[in-house]
Amino acid sequence: MGSKDAKKEEAFDAEAARSLVNDLRGRFASGKTKSCEWRVSQLKAMLKFTNEHEKDIIDALRSDLSKPMVESFITEIAMLKASCEFTLKGLKRWMMPEKVKTSITTFPSSAEIVPEPLGVVLVISAWNYPFLLALDPVIGAIAAGNAVVLKPSEIAPATSSLLAKLVGEYMDSSAVKVVEGAIPETSALLEQKWDKIFYTGNGKVGRIVLAAAARFLTPVALELGGKCPVFVDSDVNVKVMARRVIAGKWGLNNGQACVSADHIITTKDFAPKLIDALKVELEKFYGNDPLKSEDLSRIVNSNHFARLAKLLDDDKVSGKIVLGGQIESKDLKIAPTILLDVPEDSLIMNEEIFGPLLPVITVDRLEDSFRSYNLKEKPLAAYLFTNKKKLKEEFVRNVSAGGLLINDIGLHLANPHLPFGGVGESGMGSYHGKFSFDTFSHKKPVLYRSFGGDASARYPPYAPWKLKLLKALLDGSIFGIIRALLGW
């Protein structure tokens, strides 16, 4: 017992990190992680511990975030299991080389693209979906045949230590490791050379990760966030729209999600109807005293609670509250709050909210706001509710974001056939489904040539006829080649 405590006391510093990476490199070099059997065994182990410890996971999420059990189930456990199963099903196929056509320019030849693992990769995860966002990228890393270090977020400590325990017990700890800790440990890890870094979090730390990666030319994937706008047209089924907006705001960790609805943009005429519909459905979902509802997550910690309270502190903002606004600092709870037409320059409209406050901004015409949105930072997702075909087309053409979803919120996350990632400030790279496998792979092109078919036109001494033949070869024109060979 004494020595275990002593081990815990040992700081995880740069030396420890270097030693860890070296161990993993040795493991990777042995070829163990490349075998299909190993990859499958690890994914099955993950599935096993998720099934066998479902209750522990739900408890950890409740401890870290007061996440309601069903929400934990849908958005973390079920999503992870689905991801594991999808990967297990597709893995053999994804590992196979892809045959590629070659042209007459390199005749005779054959070519293929062979996926290979990058080596030793680092996954740094976030606190808001601390189970899913830690393990989902690890699924991709393992599927691609890499050795992995996972650094869960210290802001969700119960989940972090549960992950360390489960991964340690069920998975191959010589190639898949969890390093717990905060800034010092993360810095120690970032000082090492990795073959890929996958980071989920905010833009400020994203920049630090990218700068650290640049020192070693390490490729990175950054899943960041942004102010995901929801454009709402008047031509909608109001009740369904309202329910989906609520599910996509307060149903997603009480607004603390990278893809949750940040704010709504709608027309001046429609706003009252929209707000009324939201009020009605909110009461059905969470009762008339939402601070007491068991179906809402709390704010993760006092720092974020203070940050959100500050957003409401501004008189010009608090005066615009049309619903909610109640806060309970002891339990870190803030009621679902809707605000109407807060000033454009207020803090709440310039920072990602990441909480249960929903500003509604009114405009004259929705189409005009699409263009003006392109002058802002690109968010991870943008949403539009409408039945009008033309509006959908304009939206898709003109609004740039990681992903777009029409008539719903957040659901595109759950589709493993669509890449999930950001652009600009919201990130780089993508994952989910096969995209996870791809993001942790190097797709190596392999060209097979034979000793026959050697064109002397390639080599000096150069003569005019060689130039003619080269031109024809590069143009890929059969006639040109024949003519050149015949000396015409």
């Binding site: 070099a29 080596g119 700068a211 640049a214 979902f285 652009v423 040539r449 000793f451 000096p460």
Partner: protein
């Protein structure tokens, strides 16, 4: 200071052009691609002159490595750009019914292309083709180490391409630094890995995604061959892949050879014959070889040869012409592994031949070193091919030839590890300059009640089955619920 002012204005204009939407139009993109073809067609003589001035390249080499490459790339993109721009349908699981998913490529916005000095025309125009096909506005920064080509691009591009969308900014490190202080939506860099790190660090401040085409020590493994005609082919290809591209100053040129100790003398004899045949017999009469780009790199290569242990290993060549910046094709046999010639990318006409007891040791030799941009292997042994394929990692791998992988539009061209990040050529060029935006369309029809709180046991069960797409049990659950409700109402 003046350059900085002009730069701000220029970048603002380019961004305005992008925001106007003009560059997204397929007609605009095709026009620009045709303009590149015209630029090449009308200016072949000028290009030959500029490349001769900068690097003493021969017109055939120029056509093969610069003009021909660009023409091929532009034609290919012209014929495919519309297809590439089309959204790709995404499969949707039944549970999401009714919905439709697609992935829509869109341009990043304003992109910056840094050009290297060794292929100063194709390494400017080939990425430009990708950036334009994808609908971006572009700034090209040619290398100041190839000044004639830089000036050619700066004066000619505005005459053919849309000047409100494509600009050339000349200059050296100082200008590059200023450019890197600004925010770009994508940076494409070809060059050394030292500068690649600087570019990526600068990009990190703005979360700008980068593609880095770097280099590395590209090895060629030559297995023991018995048929003299095959040895001849292998030797020709090795020679062509070392001294052919810009006198060895190319990212995918052969850096060094790995060969069985017993086979080395035979290979060297063939190589000597071929050097005579291709390039001539002595320094005074050398033909068809580019020169070393400048005095700095010439001095660098000389100093490599000044190490006495390295000089002692020269078995052919070694002569230097400082006035004309020419170095004779030089072969070295087993220079020390800790000498600079074996620890740094050579980027010149010096070819170390490293002998091994057994050719299979080449795999470990390569793996002890950073991953190169390309690995080449000449062998007829299918088992050995498999080993090389599975146990080494590199940007690309080519069997029984060198360099030609560069010409395949269907193969991605890029590095891994120290040799680079990202890839291009063919459709990969279009992709590297695009953001793939996922779009999911849902309708209001068909609501799934269990999605919403308040939560209860039924909803939890529903979701359990839904998530594993167990439609059968879902149906049973729903039927069970229906029956339950019927029971309740009849009581």
């Amino acid at each position: 200071m003046e350059a900085l002012d002009g730069l701000e204005q220029s970048l603002t204009e380019l961004r305005q052009t992008f925001t106007s939407g003009r560059t997204r139009d397929v007609a605009w993109r095709k026009d620009q691609l045709r303009a590149i073809l015209k630029l090449i067609d009308h200016n072949e003589a000028k290009i030959n002159l500029a490349l001769h001035q900068d690097l003493c390249k021969h017109p055939v080499e120029i056509y093969r490595d610069e003009i021909g490459v660009v023409k091929k790339s532009a034609n290919y993109s012209l014929s495919c750009v519309e297809k590439w721009m089309a959204p790709k349908k995404g499969r949707i699981p039944w549970l999401f019914f009714p919905s439709r998913g697609e992935v829509l490529p869109e341009p990043y916005g304003l992109v910056l292309i840094f050009v290297a000095w060794n292929f100063p025309i194709s390494l400017a125009l080939d990425p430009l083709i990708g950036a334009i096909s994808a609908g971006n506005t572009v700034v090209i920064k040619p290398s100041d180490l190839s000044p004639a080509c830089s000036a050619f691009l700066a004066s000619t591009i505005p005459l053919y391409l849309d000047p409100t969308a494509v600009r050339v900014i000349e200059g050296g490190a100082h200008v590059a630094e200023q450019l890197l202080q600004h925010r770009w939506d994508k940076i494409f860099f070809t060059g050394s890995h030292r500068v690649g790190k600087i570019v990526m660090s600068a990009a990190a401040k703005h979360l700008t995604p980068v593609t880095l085409e770097l280099g590395g020590k590209c090895p060629v493994i030559v297995d023991t061959l018995s048929d003299p005609s095959e040895i001849m082919v292998a030797a020709k290809r090795v020679a062509g892949g070392k001294w052919g591209p810009c006198s060895g100053q190319a990212c995918i040129a052969i850096d060094y050879v790995l060969v069985d100790r017993k086979f080395a003398p035979i290979l060297i004899e063939f190589l000597k014959k071929i050097i005579h045949q291709f390039y001539g017999e002595n320094l005074k009469n050398l033909k068809y070889l580019s020169r070393i780009v400048n005095k700095h790199h010439f001095a660098r290569l000389c100093s490599i040869l000044e190490d006495p242990r390295v000089a002692a290993s020269i078995v052919y060549g070694g002569s230097l012409d400082e006035n004309n910046l020419i170095i004779e094709p030089t072969i070295l046999l087993d220079p020390p592994l800790d000498s600079e010639i074996m620890t740094e990318e050579i980027f010149g006409p010096l070819l170390p031949i490293i002998t091994l007891d057994n050719i299979h040791e080449s795999i470990e030799f390569i793996n002890l070193r950073p991953k190169p941009l390309a690995i080449y292997a000449f062998t007829k042994d299918e088992k050995f091919k498999k080993l090389v394929l599975m146990e080494t990692s590199s940007g690309s791998l080519t069997f029984n030839d060198v360099m030609v992988q560069f010409l395949c539009d269907e193969l991605p061209f890029g590095g891994v590890g120290q040799s680079g990040i990202g890839r291009y050529h063919g459709k990969y060029s279009f992709d590297t300059f695009s953001h793939e935006k996922a779009v999911l369309y849902r309708s209001f029809f068909l609501e799934l009640e269990p999605r919403y709180p308040p939560w209860n046991e039924f909803k939890l069960q529903f979701l359990r089955f839904a998530y594993i797409f167990d439609y059968f049990r879902l149906l049973l659950l729903l039927l069970g619920r229906k029956l339950q409700q019927m029971f309740a109402s009849s009581h």
